[in-house]
Each structure stands twice: as structure tokens, then as C-alpha cells.
Subunit: 406 residues, 4 copies
């Protein structure tokens, strides 16, 4: 099977997909609030004559049947992030949204999910226009709320697999800071386990000039942040890839009041359940110890969410690799180590015990060391090459299951 | 001159002042936004037939002339704080306000300025009802914005001393966590120099799982908070009273994004200009050094406000002491060391080179070690004894200038 | 009583005392090992015909009786410090000694005890040569081991007050970095309570490249040192003078081995028992908390020694002040706040419930801010003026008890 | 070629090697001071009739020629470590030695180099007794000073390769905490680059009760240790294996003196030159920044030594693997990732551009998680199984070059 067998898009179609991309990029929405995105996807599916239903709140599932053949699911996630875009692109986002806690924030497609949506819609277009050479059923999953680990679970709980046909494999892809045209696929573990915790440090409020009458939660929490560094630097083997990040820290209203509380959030990554458990255990131990140092009660540690370990099925992964190599060129496809990024993609297949495969496609014409990565306010893929490669990768992988031989 | 000479309030008047206190306590307003408080004060002055004018935005100046005699100014500050009251009092505040930066916050009379207003109005009532035994002119200054060091300057710049007669002395008092009925007055330095700084730490935003692609401003700022502790613990003489407090720390929106910036505020106290300069210099040096440690650019350090050193005039202080001892009892009046609290009260007299005296009156029937202090969410003076003592102290000090001899 | 009444030393005697000073300065001995110093003092007392006995190991007590009159004790301490002298003086010490733990160290009179010995011997000479004008008994206590808080207790336990007559008052003085010719005496608390603690942090040794297999005691102990700073910066009132110093930190033999243990010592100062108890309590709490942070067992905290609070008797202090003012000039004698330095001098009087008085005499002709202080390797008093002033202060204070009127 | 072809040792020979092992274990010597070890090795070689010469000070090179065939070098390192043995073995070391800086320390074979010496001597014995079935020349390198990275360089500079025949390959092995009988060999990078640095932090000495008059080098150095943790936790990619260890920290002589200096040493590990350069650069930046924080001059950072990256030649590595698998069993030989340990072994081959191969052999019958690792005071291999496996591995690898075909 070679590249020449893949369906292709016309120049007109390609231009239209670029317009769609710019529209989505300009109008990102926060997790589980992707209402306009949902409607736009529905309109696109309608235009292609693809059946669809809403699922998991702001998710959409399209079902494209084309005669006999395997059932394959492909997932694209749809949400943006609370980041203020600084990409300088003409179509940069100026959108704002409201977080669940009521804060109004800027919103940006800072993780490139807009490219995922467009690549999957591009593949659907190509398949719809070229139904002769393939057969089977494609379940196109437009999943909301990936960034908060909420969407995949919401879709499964909302009856995704009761309402859509059960697939042989679930496929998914994600844009990365690598060169556009390249693809990387991990053998085995694809993405890390992630846990997010909220830590509330309770001190005792007092006047800023009388520290002796209170308990300073900012000094205590700052020391916690510092001590958390030692988990990675001292407790884990150097070869063990793991991350402990404090992503937010909020305390106090006025500079001359020592506040009652400080709150921070921790995000961890690990490539095995054992390491993950060690990270969480060490965090609890360190925070309890720091509370004793500060002479305050133990901080309250609440789970915000967690992402599962996302493992590529070995056999299905080989099959995807073959398709990608054929379509993009041998040297453009690498088999790499796990990414520290996390994904709730894994829930989709795991919930029905179906193998899944997940890979990364490059998003930049000339990536540079130190350049913007996912979640950076300057993360802006080069659309032309990125969307072409993303669409091709989607088609090439699907083709391994639904394409007709030679 | 003895206590018996001071004017007194009837039981009815006293009850009415308690009502006023509960009203003010329930309706605190943020600094320089004391509109309702201003109107209420004006209504009270109107009811007493005292002339008044607005000054410095939300301030009020009342002028009570009563024949021949010295001109004396007495100041009460009027603003509340962005604190959520947890006093459990029936009349606890549920008010909210909006900070200059747009944040909506709870508001509380957490520093007891409502007792200052009531004590001064109580003294005015007593003087208005008993004009036979005193002579002179009382300038009653209801000053806004003490907590932000904005009010005294605003009133002076708005022509306070062009519009009110020039006094011989400026008096002021503040409620404290001590036993109600007691008063403390410092010989010399009354309150500390205070500086408030805003520190913006600029890192580089990245995905929480890829710290190597960014610069973590939270880890950097946390380390800054920790290192700032060494100024007081190592750089200053043990006998040198000084404070470096970080009152706020804000960074990040999402736990899996390492943010671009962290912002914190620092509040310092010192009892001499030399120590103050050393504190500020050390803060700058430490923050620059920490930025180098973190591999980031130097943080931006902006001044929010500063409070002057507030020095009691020696001779006028002796005179006030005599009055307080006579009215409250020898053993209830102490001459103490400086307080680390700060006050913009000093600007009022200093701006026209007139001596000033400032003292503390207790606010609690049974103060306990570890009990709530000013700026605590549980700071709630016991009104009956506190207001009586505050009114008596105001009258007793004024009487030293305007009361007729025995 | 005026200066003219004090006995005086001839130029020859003065020169001889300078020789003695240079000899002692060149030959310092560590605490409780002052053997050569002891012998030299005995030789000096013999030369003056003053009876003496050994006491407390390396201590000497001289008894100078001269007819009727009060018994007064005067104490000079005799030990040096494990510091390498860098004073640049011609007579700088190159001595070495052996600490109780076996380490060989340089030794220096880094706290100026040599000036104390010479001043007391100078006063004895003057009194011996001029017995007409005074009467009474002088108990001259040459005390070893002040720096380790061992000497005063050792002398008392060795029967000091069974063997010497019981005095009315115990006097003592110490050289300071102030201007020679000046004296400072504290009303009330003279010197601080001091405690010294040894902390042993037990980790688990491992190869430096495999931190995950051990527990790093250096990272743990470093964090302890940092957290100890918050006691003074956050837990105590700004006006409360207190110090927490980590004076030694030792861990590890080789850079590529994470060692089993780290050991550090802590020295604290406080001006009241209550504050002292709070310091010690906080140290224990912080070190326990830090051990939990590090995942190691609680550190072992051992007391090395403690110094008592040293309080000047009010009435005897006034009497000494009168003498010093008369001899040195009104403006050269100040009544100051407590020093943070500590002294075991207090045990001498306290053990027999006799009042005591302790003061500081300046040691430098041109002291400068930032210049060397006691325990600095560059601490080298200017002998001529310092010894004259020290001898005069000793005589002037003694004279208040034993001198004949006018 | 199968196991049966390897020469074997008699029970008597084996017992004699165990005696030798216990002797060496009981008598460890510090790096570059292995005089007794050198003499014992010479005696062993003499007993076998193997020519030898001294090289690099305390090193020994044995040359065993046996007719035609390739020249192969095999290296065993000979030095012990400054660790106090706590293995509880009957033959545990009680030896002491003197470090270059004059400190007397306990010495222990804490890295198992004694097993290396015995395994190589065991292989030599077997080869000497069985000369029929092999041909070639064996260069047996007994290298001193591995722990200080001094020995390999010293031997090369002392003309090792001018005096011994040039080999086709240089082989070497190291005991590990794994199960005895197993061997691990890395494809590519075998051991890490290591750098050791000495950091001298210069403060200003003062009395412990007067921190304001000095600059506390212990607080500064403690903060440096803490900040160094962020290099691994924040600056490097999670997948990048690297270590920054502070192995020693020494400051101060007396708890009530804030000392002039603190000194600590840093040991780093990296698996690429780029990461190594980043580590060193970050250390310099952090220490400079911390000096600014502390208000002191930049610390002096001196290099103690460095270890090169040690890379296994691909082709020679495959050949060694084949021999080990044949001799020890397929399942007992693993191809693993790089070790974070470091070795100066690499200099031997690199200096003459000859390929080299290095592997690890297990040393414990029942290794447990958390059990003692190299450089632990409890590191004591089980001699019987370990020495058998080590000798076999040495023979099996050599046999690949010098053994006659089946």
C-alpha cells in the first residue's frame, strides 16, 4: 500500500480547511464549554452528510458508514486553554472565558487542538469524496474537555459506546513542537500518568507588622514549593522521568495583612503507576512536614483530576507505523520514548478494552531550540504544512484498516 | 484638673452611639471609597449643628468653634479592609467591595476604624452639649484611606489647612488588642515607617510537564519569599525592630501550565530611616540575586505606597499623658515603646510643622494571649467599654487644650 | 569622691603591664586548658605578695586583705577561642590547641579576655602599692572556661565560696568594640541567655550518583538551616531581641558519596526565659518537621551548654555607675540596653545570692562601623588606651566599696 | 563456543582466591596510596610467573604472553574509599588512611574494587594453568585511583602504552548491587560523565550573637544547596538522566562564632557532553546568584576532577555479550541503559583510540530493594558467588578474542 492510494483534497478544499482553522483558532473555548465549537463541527458534518449525535455535553460523534469493513474510531479533542495568546498571528485569539471558579480569563488554542479538529474533518472530507476505494465504518469522536481530564470520561459515561458501533481500534493524534511533516509514535507508554492536586495551607491571619500573632501561610507555602523540588532531584532515580510542577499559587489580598490561607496546585507526571504512587506519597509527606515546620495544621490536599497512563497497543501500533511511513516517508516517522504530556484519550479504548494508538505530528516549519511549546502563549503551528501532515496522518492510519488493498 | 470636669454623655446618647457603631461596623468601605461613611458622618455633624466640608475625596472636616481658645485638631480614620469577617458578632459585616485592580472582595472593619469615628463623634456630642466649660476651636478630621496611606496626603493636597484653621496640635488615637480602659502612648517614635512594594517576577510560560522549555516563576518567587526572611534574621541587629512581610502572592491560572509571571507584595516596617533604607536595599539585592539563581531577568519592583515615621512631640505628649491619667486612672495609662503599626496620621501635622500626638486605646474586656489582633478576621472590639474609653480619651486629651481650669 | 583619689600606676608599671598583655595575647589557651595562663597569673600574684589558690581546674583566686572593710569580688575570665588570628599585630597569636573532640585548631584571644586579666592585675598592683587609702578584702577571681560556660560553674562546684570570704558584691567587666575610654552598663538585664545545641541529622549513605537509594542528610540539614531563620523573622515580635545562629555544619568526606550523617550546632540568645523557651521549642518543632520533609528519622538534639540570664543588681549598679562616671567622665559612661552576648559571670553571685554588676569597656581608639567585633579574627584592642581604661574602671568600681572617703 | 571450553579453577584455587579476597577487603587503601595492594598483586603475579611492571605510581601491569594471537587488555581497579565499614562481616575493614588534605579517615572497599582484583587474578590463574586452548597476549591492568579519576590518566601519562603491547580491545567490569551471576552491559553509553567541584563560600566572621556585624556563610551555603536542587527538577527535561549531589559541607569550629567560610563539594553526572555543560553552567549561575542574595563575594569554584563519558564499542560489545551469554546463560545477561556511575576506565582505550567494553556483574545472593549499594557503609558482596561470576565473566569475555575455536 503506498501514498498514492490515499484520498486527496483539492486546492479549494484545502483553502476551505485553512479558513476553518483560522476560525477555530480565533474562537477557542474553555474545557466543557465548547458550545460554539460543537455547533461548528455539527455544521461541518451536516455539510458532508455525516450523521452525528451530541455526547458528553459539548462533544460530537460523527458516524460515517461505507459498506462492509472494520469499524475504526478516531478522536480529535476540541478545547482551548486559559492562556492569553501572544503568537502575533493575524488570527490570534482575543477570546475570554469564565473558569468554574468564576474567574474571567483569556482563552487560547494553546495546545493546538484546533489542528486536531481540522485534520479529522479534512480526513472525513477526503473519505466522503472518495468512497470507492474504502469500506467500513468510521466513528469520528470530537471530544471536549481534554485539558481537564473530563471529556473522555464524560463521553463514555454519556453512553458513547452504547450509541456508536464498537470499533476494532481507537486512534488519536496530537500536534507537537516538532517539524511539520514528521510524526513520532511511542512503543508502549505513549503519555504519562498525571495527577492534579489542590493544596490549601491554613495559617492564622494577622497584621503584617505583627507576624508573632499569626501564622504566615505564604512563607509556609513558599517553603513547600521549594521542598517539593527534592522529590525529582533526590528521591527518584535519575533515569526515572517524572515531573512535579506547582502551576498556581494564590494567597492574600493586601500587602500589609498576613493572610489566613494560601492555595496552590500541583501537577505531577510519571511513566508508571509505581512512580506515580511514590510522587503522591512524597508530596503528602513533604507537605505534612512543612506544616509542622511552620507550626500550622496539616494542609488540605484535594484531587482535582487525574489522567491515566496511555499505552499504545503493540500490534495496532505497528500497523499505524506502517501506514505513516508509507504516507510520510520512512525518515519522517520516528519511534520514540514516552512523552511527559498526558491525555485522557486512553479512557476511550480502555473503557471497552479495545486497543488504541496515539501519536504526535509536528507543527512547525522551522522549529528552534527554546521555541514555543504546547501551552506557551506563543504556540502557533504553521497551518499549511501542519494541517496537510495532520490530515495525511489521519488518513494514512485509518487506511490501514478501511482502505482496499492495492 | 480631674475626671469630674470632663463632659459626659447620657445613657440615651451612649445607646445611640452604640447603634451608630453597629451600623458602621456592618457597612465598612474600602479605602478612598468611603462614600456611605462620609454621608453618615456628615449627617451626624449636621445633627450636632457642626459646620463641615468634604476634603480629599471621601474625607470630612468638621469645625466646632466655641469662643476664645486654642485651635486643636483631632483625627479619626474611616476606612475598612479587604478581609472576610469571622467575628461571629451579630452585626458582623457581609459587605463586599471592589479593589482598584478590579477584584471583588469582602470588606470588614478589621482595624477598628469604626471605633475611631464613633469615639470622635461621641466627644463632639459631649462638647456640643456642654459648651460652658470649654473654649476654642476643634477641627474634627474624618480621614479616608488610612490603610493605603492615601488619605492624609489626599486631604492635605486638597487644601485641608487652607480651609480649616491652623491648629496648635494634631491628636489621634487607635484601638488596639489591649484591655479596654487602658491607653498606651509612646515617648518619641509612635509608629513605624512602612513601605509596600509590588514585585513582578517574569519567567517563561510552558507546559507543566516540560519545565525545561520554560522558566518557572513560582519556584523563583517562592525562593525569594524564603530568602527575604534572612534580612531580619541575619542582617539586622537583634535589638533592631523591623518586619519584612510578604502579604500577597499570585501566580498561574491552571495547574498544568507553568505561568509566565508571579506577583507578590512586600510590606516592611522600621523604626528609623536608616533601618528602612537597609531593608529596602536588601530586598532589592536579594530579589536580583534570586533572579540570577533562577536564570530569569531582574524582577520589576514597584512602590505601592509608604508611611512616614510617626513621632510624638515630647511636650504635647506629656500634656496628653496628664489628661489621660487624670481621666482613666494612673495605672491604666502606660508609656510604651513604638508600635510596629504604621499610620499616615503623621502627615497631617508634619505638613504644617505642627506637633502631633498619637496613642493606642484598648478594645477588649478580656484580651488573651494569641487572641485576635488588628487585621485579623476575628478582630471585634467589645463596644461598650471600648467606645466609652475611646470617647473619654478623646475628651480628656482635647480638654488639656480647650477645657477651662478646674 | 573624685578621680584624683584612685590609686595610680607608674609609667614603669604601665609598661610592664603592656608586656604582660602582649605575652598573654601571643599565648592564648582554649577553654578549661588555661594552664600556662594560670601559672603566669600565679606568678604575678606571687610578685605582689597576694595569697592565692587554684580553683575549678585552671582557675586562680587571689585574696588581698587590707584591714577592716567590705569584702568585694572582681572577676576576670582567662580563656581564648578556636579562631585563627588575622589582626596583623606584631604580637598576633600563632598558637594552636586541641578541642575536646580531638580537632587541632588555631587559638586566639578573639574575645579580649587577655585585657580582662591585665586590667584586674593592674588594679591589684595599684591597690597593693597604695594600701593607706583603702580597707577591706578583695577576692580576685581569674576564671577559666567562660566561652564554654564551664568555668564559673566549675569554680563554684570546686568550693570557691567555701574557700574565699563571702563578698557583698561581685563585679566584672568585658572589653567591647566601642571607643576606648567609654563604658556601658545595662540597667537590669546585662547579657542574654544563651543555649548551644548539637544536631545530628541521620540520613542513609549511598553513592553520589544514586540519590534514590539513600536519604540525603546534607540537603535535609541545609533546609533546616534555612527554616530556622523563620523563628526570628516570623515567630517573635519584632521588638523581641533574639538570635538563632548555626555556627558549625559538618557532613561528608567525599564529594561522590552522599553521607550517612550531617551535624550542625545552634546557638541561641534571648533576653527572657519565656523567649528562650520559645526559641528552643520552635527549634525542636522545625527540626522534627524538616526530618519528616526529608523522610528521615528525627534528628538527635543535644545540649552542649547554656548561659544564664545575667542581671545587674539595681542598687549596686547605681553605685558602680557613680564610680565610673567620676573616674572616666560623665559623658564617657552610658546606661544602655542589654547586650546579646552571654556570660557565665552571673553564676558567681547567683550561687550565693549576692548582687553582681557587669559592664563593658571600649577597646578601640577609632572604632568604625563594620569594624571587627568580638570573635572576629581581626579583633585586636588598642592596648594602651584600653588597658588604662580597663584598669581605671576596675579600680573606680572597687573604690566605691573599699575606698576611704574623700 | 560453549561454557565447557572455559578454563576452570580447582576447589583449592577457589579457596585461595577467597582468602585473597578477605585479605584485600580487610586492608583497603585510599586512592593513589595503594602501596600494600600493589605489593600483594605483584606477589600474586610472581607466583604465576607473569611479568609485570609498576605504572602510574601504585598501579601494576602484568603481561601474559602465550604464543600467537590477539593482544587484549583487561583492567581491574584497586582503590578503597574513605567510608567507615558497617557491613558486620567478620573480615570488615578497620583500616584508616590520610586524605590529601591531611584528614585521617576510616577506609573501606565500599565500591567492591577488591572483587575486581580477585576476579582478574582468578582469570589469570585459570589461563596460566590451561595454556593449550588459547593463544595471544593478555595485558592485565591493575589500576589505582579510580575513585578520584586519577589512576587511568596517571598510567597513560606514565607510558602504559609505550611499555605494554597495544591491544585490540580494552575490557573492564564492575561489581553492582544486582544478583550474583547476572551481568548487565549497556549498548552505547556505559557510564556517565562526572565532574567534582569544590565551592568555597566566603562570608565575614563575627560573634554568633551579632549576625549584623558579619556575613553568615553557612546560611548562604545552605541556600546554595537547596537551590542546586532546581537544576534537575526544573532545568532539565524529565527524560534527561542527570544528578547534582553535594557530598560534603564543612564550616565553622564553634557554635557561637559565625565563621568566615563554608566549603562544600558538588558531584555531577550526565549522559552527554551537552547536558554536562548545562549542569556546570547552571551551578555557576546559581552560586553567583546566591552570593548576591547573601551579599557576599562570588564563591570560588574549583574543579577537583572529572570523569569522561564511557562508551561501549558496538561491535566489541556484541562480542563480549556473546561470550557472557554462553558462559552465564542467556537469561542472566541483560542489555541495559547507561549507569549513572562514572569510570575513568574510558581513558585507557580512548588514549590510543582502541575500542573498549565495560559491564556490571552482580554481587549479592539475595539483593533487596533498598539494600546497600556501592559507596554504602554496608556494601559487602557475597564472595563465593560473586567471585565465581566475576572470574567467569572475565574469562568468557577474554575467550572471545584469545580462545581457540571449539
Amino acid at each position: 500500500m503506498t501514498v498514492s492510494h490515499l484520498p486527496e483534497l483539492s486546492a479549494h478544499e484545502t483553502e476551505s480547511l485553512h479558513d476553518l482553522y483560522r476560525h477555530l483558532h480565533r474562537n477557542p473555548e474553555l474545557s466543557m464549554q465548547e458550545h460554539a465549537t460543537q455547533e461548528r463541527i455539527e455544521a461541518e458534518l451536516d455539510a458532508l452528510g455525516i450523521e452525528h449525535f451530541r455526547c458528553g455535553g459539548t462533544g460530537v460523534v460523527g458516524i460515517l458508514e461505507n459498506g462492509e469493513g472494520p469499524v475504526v474510531a478516531f478522536r480529535a479533542d476540541t478545547d482551548g486553554l486559559p492562556i492569553e495568546e501572544r503568537s502575533g498571528r493575524e488570527y490570534a485569539s482575543e477570546a475570554r472565558g469564565t473558569l468554574p471558579d468564576g474567574r474571567e480569563v483569556p482563552v487560547m488554542h494553546g495546545c493546538g487542538h484546533d489542528t486536531h479538529v481540522v485534520a479529522l474533518l479534512g480526513a472525513l472530507r477526503a473519505l466522503v469524496y472518495d468512497t470507492e476505494r474504502w469500506g467500513g465504518t468510521l466513528v469520528a469522536i470530537f471530544q471536549p474537555g481534554e485539558e481537564t481530564a473530563a471529556g473522555a470520561r464524560a463521553m463514555v459515561e454519556d453512553g458513547l459506546w452504547d450509541r456508536a458501533p464498537r470499533p476494532e481500534v481507537v486512534l488519536g493524534q496530537h500536534v507537537s513542537p516538532a517539524r511539520a511533516g514528521t510524526v513520532a509514535l511511542a512503543a508502549g507508554v505513549a503519555t504519562a500518568i498525571a495527577d492534579s492536586l489542590r493544596v490549601t495551607v491554613r495559617g492564622r491571619q494577622t497584621h503584617g507588622s505583627q507576624p508573632q500573632d499569626g501564622k504566615d501561610p505564604i512563607v509556609a507555602a513558599a517553603s513547600m514549593v521549594t521542598s517539593l523540588q527534592t522529590i525529582v532531584s533526590r528521591e527518584l532515580a535519575p533515569q526515572e522521568a517524572a515531573v512535579v510542577t506547582v502551576g498556581t499559587f494564590h494567597a492574600g489580598i493586601k500587602e500589609n495583612i498576613i493572610p489566613e490561607e494560601a492555595e496552590f496546585t500541583v501537577n505531577t507526571r510519571a511513566l508508571s503507576q509505581e512512580t506515580r504512587d511514590r510522587l503522591i506519597g512524597s508530596i503528602h509527606r513533604i507537605l505534612r512536614g512543612e506544616a509542622m515546620v511552620a507550626g500550622i495544621e496539616e494542609p488540605v490536599i484535594e484531587k482535582i483530576y487525574d489522567f491515566p497512563l496511555n499505552v499504545n497497543d503493540e500490534r495496532a501500533g505497528e500497523r499505524v507505523l506502517a501506514g505513516l511511513r508509507s504516507a510520510l516517508g520512512e525518515e519522517e516517522v520516528s519511534v520514540g520514548p514516552p512523552m511527559m504530556g498526558s491525555e485522557d484519550f486512553g479512557w476511550l479504548g480502555a473503557s471497552i478494552e479495545v486497543p488504541s494508538v496515539f501519536w504526535w505530528f509536528g507543527g512547525f516549519d522551522s522549529p528552534e531550540p527554546g521555541g514555543p511549546v504546547n501551552h506557551s502563549p506563543r504556540f502557533a503551528p504553521d497551518p499549511e504544512t501542519t494541517l496537510r501532515a495532520g490530515t495525511t496522518a489521519a488518513l494514512a492510519s485509518l487506511w490501514q484498516w478501511i482502505g482496499h488493498e492495492g
